[in-house]
Amino acid sequence: MTDLADLTIAQAGSGLRSGEFTAVDLLAAVERRAAVTEAHLHAYLTLDRSGARTAAEAADAALATGDPRPLLGIPIALKDNMVTRGVETTASSQILAGWKPPYDGTAAIRLKEAGAVIVGKTNLDEFAMGSSTENSAYGPTRNPWNTNTVPGGSSGGSAAAVAVGSALGAFGSDTGGSIRQPASLTGTVGAKPTYGLVSRYGLIAFASSLDQIGPIARTVPDAAALLEAVVGWDPMDATSYNGDLPAIAKSLDTGVAGLRIGVVTELSGEGIDPEVLEATMRIVDQLSNAGADVVEISLPAIEYALSAYYLIAPAECSANLARFDGVRYGLRVDGATTEEMMAKTRAEGFGPEVTRRILLGTYALSAGYYDAFYGQAQRVRTLLRNDFASAYGRVDVLVSPTSPTTAFEVGAKTADPLTMYFADICTIATNLAGDPAISVPIGLDDAGLPIGFQIMAPALGEEVMFRVAAEVERLAAFTERPRLATSKVVAP
């Protein structure tokens, strides 16, 4: 019999509803998987055993009454930059060590209302700044496909947990690719919705105009189901979208016949690993064979996206992280004066990457530089949006690799910040534009590491995006699981 931890959310849902097993059984299976794999992966920062147990029991009671909610009793994980009432939330930073929030973020509230069982909080690059989950104050997360490699980041803990089966689904946040790139590197599906579709209330802010919460799952329909549970206007987030919601899961079985698909020129050549590129083009051909109309599309401004991103995101983060000052919560390092206390607390509490970005953002906003840096980056953003807008006048979706390479070795890019920044070269543009994008696994490279395929859509184009993603999933028929999930590994 299959281990329950290897079920998809859809399978688990029907098993729960048919009474094959209970939510408590399902949780136990996931926690057993965590017990075996955590020593190798460190996907979780906190496992909330009692909270999860209570939620699973409540789910079983509801299931007994025929409650039809799709996520009822499903064990999921939340990235540790999502605020959870009473459960330690640190954003992987020393500065928030031990902080137990007095409130729940909107996503957590909606997931609890949906009956999901929150297993725990997953590791990330500190404050979501990074692409490898190595920048965690609590130690890195490893990739379950090869524990010498990184799982990507910053939502590496969520991606690793889903890949290995210590959660059936998870949520991450994506500011420059932080859901899609780790999904790509761990062979999972990861979606960044349209900016504003999911409330940011309770998401510890990195860069407010770019951050979005989104799902990581093992299948496209699972990702759609997770996303549907959290979307929708929230009066607590002024930037949340208050119009009609896209029909996310409506067209999963429709196929791609008649759709126009654009391959982004700038993301399908130089800088992309040949194996990754080859796999990507194979899928593009298959999409064409399946009836899609494939064209090549150039987005000239995308060449400037990374530069603009590394001005905008640090600038916003320099203000967003100013609240961590040792006064009201978190770490305090004593000083003779409040000024000294604050400066020492922040020096001690923030890791090097966070410090670097705060300094960078402070500089980019300071008098005399604002217009040349921040102001110019915001104008580049407009040009990029214009490029996307004209592209979407010609095609329904754009496609590219999700990550220029498969998973890289732990420590390979930590010495030079810029080389790490290039890991997000394919994903950043959609954050700047505010558009949705999804990564779907399409195969393994020669080293046995997963390759991800990115589908981008215009704002609120989730329906067509998931439609293409579902077709890519069918065409790729990717069924491999990481060795760590299938072998009976014993904790060292």
Binding site: Y304, L311, V327, I358, T382
Partner: protein, 96 residues
């Protein structure tokens, strides 16, 4: 332009105490990153409006309605130092 990063002033504005070694390291890394980021200046943007918000929405308001505040014990629970219901900090150098 990167050469003139006054890292000490930037660190002061950001309220982060740096050691001499850190100042040197971050100064160098920032210069390197800025050099790359400066590429944005190569793009002609005359007459281009900046984008600060991805969706073209305006006027998100809340009604003037009082909602429940935190219980004080919950508000103060995570604080490093408190006294008689207040948050407590060391003396302050100057009035703002």
């Amino acid at each position: 332009m990167p050469a003139d990063i006054d890292i000490e002033r930037v660190a002061h504005l950001a309220r982060i105490a740096l050691t001499d070694d850190e100042r040197a390291l971050y100064g160098e890394q920032l210069a390197h990153i800025i050099e790359h980021a400066e590429r944005v200046q190569a793009l002609p943007t005359e007459g281009v409006e900046p984008t600060s918000h991805p969706l073209p929405m305006v006027n998100a308001f809340r009604p003037d309605v009082v909602t429940e505040s935190l219980r004080r014990e919950d508000a103060l629970a995570g604080a490093p130092d408190t006294q008689n219901g207040y948050y407590r900090v060391p003396k302050i150098l100057d009035e703002s």
